[in-house]
Amino acid sequence: MSGQTNDYLVEVNNLVKWFPIRSSFLMRTIANVKAVDGISFKIKRGQTMGLVGESGCGKSTAGRTMLRLMDRTGGEFTFDGQDVFALSREELRKMRPRMQIIFQDPYSSLSPRIPVGEIIGEAVREHSIVPNSDFDDYLTLVMKACGLQEYHKDRYPHEFSGGQRQRICIARALALNPDFIICDEPVSALDVSIQAQIINLLKQLQEDFGLTFMFISHDLSVVEHISDTVGVMYLGTLVEHADARELFENPLNPYTKALFSAIPYPDPDIKMNRIILEGSIPSPANPPKGCKFHTRCSECMEICSLATPEFAEVTSEHFCACHLYNDAERGARAELAAKEAKAEAAAKVS
């Protein structure tokens, strides 16, 4: 790591990614799918940020755009003090080992024609991460750290199970000695027993190597387990971002509340207080004006359809974009909400 004193390894500022919809005839852009529509967050060194939201809300697109696997439409991404979007191709290539990504599907993200040792080691050699003489030992070390055996090197990806494949993907990312890894739903393609193994592996690696994670998922319990802070996305925008415990205990945004009310509780006697959202998620090509959530929000006010709520710090380190907390007394309201939540939790227990 560099000697900079900046606490934040990752700073994303107003990141925008639109996909143009072109007319079939003249190929003119007639509309844009606003997959990521201005999100901002920071991740501290050595911490994990969970990013949750429904399918299609732009979580994965945000991750891929940050790593410049796609061109951005606007915004900034500062990685360890460097503006990633300002780097030239060659500079970016040199930078790549420091920020890695693990994809959701361990079946499609490993080239079927290349042996595992080559998949893991190829880029190590390309970037001269270790001297050539140490290469084999290093490879073995990394594979062992990820729960793989040395003799797996010469095998091909199809000879492994889903969980092992995901270990290969993790080893691949880890071998480059990164500072930051984006985990793009790394466990949603795996069954539950394997999910736990992989999550624990990721946590272990984070401890051992001081990694910073951005953990994209739609599985709230997994995110709660692994994250230090959690961001909630809806239709391309970040609606809430706070410390994980704070967020789960005291969600402010009505969307977050609805989302969390869907977490199953392992006790059949407890009556779940579910908030059922009406209608379906609007098209990101033509999102509602004002607050994007106002069409489905149970606490919709007049202003919600008129003005876009600001993504502001409501209480310390707890950001939320909602008009409920956006006026002069927003702090007071948030405190009230916290009290209510506590009372509710107490009622549930008794």
């Binding site: 696997l69 290539r93 790549r96 079927p112 024609r113 190829e122 880029a123 091909y156 993907c169 691949r172």
Partner: protein
Amino acid sequence: MIEFLSKRILMGIVILFFVMLVVYAVMYSLPMSYVERMAYDLSARPGSLKSSAEWLAELNAKYGFDQGILGGYFIWLGSAFKGDFGESWQWTVDVTAKFKEVIWYSFALTATVFIFEIIIAVPLGITAARKQYSTTDYSITVIALIGISLPTFFTATLLKLIFAVHLGWFDMFGMQGRNYLLLDDFGKFMDLCAHMVLPAMTLTIVSIGPLMRYTRTNMLEVLNSDYIRTARAKGLSERKVINHHAFRNTLLPLITILGGTLPALFSGALITETIFAIRGIGYTSFYSMINGDIPFTMFYLMFIAMLTLLANLIADVLYAVVDPRVRVN
């Protein structure tokens, strides 16, 4: 592997037996009979002592046509088994001799085209895929479509007009220039090559399109896969991403269709050879067929059938070589 190979070869022999039976049945039942015509010719010759009916009976007996389709087929099969394919009726030499004489012209022509087709179409397809929906992509696609849509005879005529009539670089047709006999060996070879340029160009133009489209489609599929995204995220150079990761995975479907074109290398190009008067196998087999030359046609089609079977086998084996998934199972 040996078990797999021997099984496939045995299966191939059975298939070949029935394919040739069908071919023989079709040739036998054709309305124009070379034997009948020969019988009339022989009886009409001055000094002929037999009537046409007698000649016909004698000839039929000689070639085994009086035994019916199955009987005749087994007679052909028996002598073919001994390596005797008889004498061609149309060309009045041994079938194998005629075949040896003409096959190499066709092979040289189609092999040249095959090589040019690959070295032009595959890179074009990859370029088009890498720059999908760009001007380059559309230009390549349009050119490929023009190549696919133009009939061979039209392309050939157009090339003749440009290169033979207006520019005068090549002869319109034939395989030898007017000074052929005066040239030394090297000169003769160069003369032959010069006469192959236009036919080769014609065949290349019409064959690039499908292969290029095929490469593009497969490459696009691979380029949009997660493992290419992974390779980019690893920080590999773009050259490595394309050559090492993407192209390797595009190779598999390409080999299948290229393996399938192996028989085409030897079957000749009927239309092009006829237009340019190249005495290759396409031209020769065409005249054999329309004249009902059973021995030559049988041999030629047997050859093609064997090649097709062999090509499938080779494609399967190559599949195993390039695809680790098939190799292990």
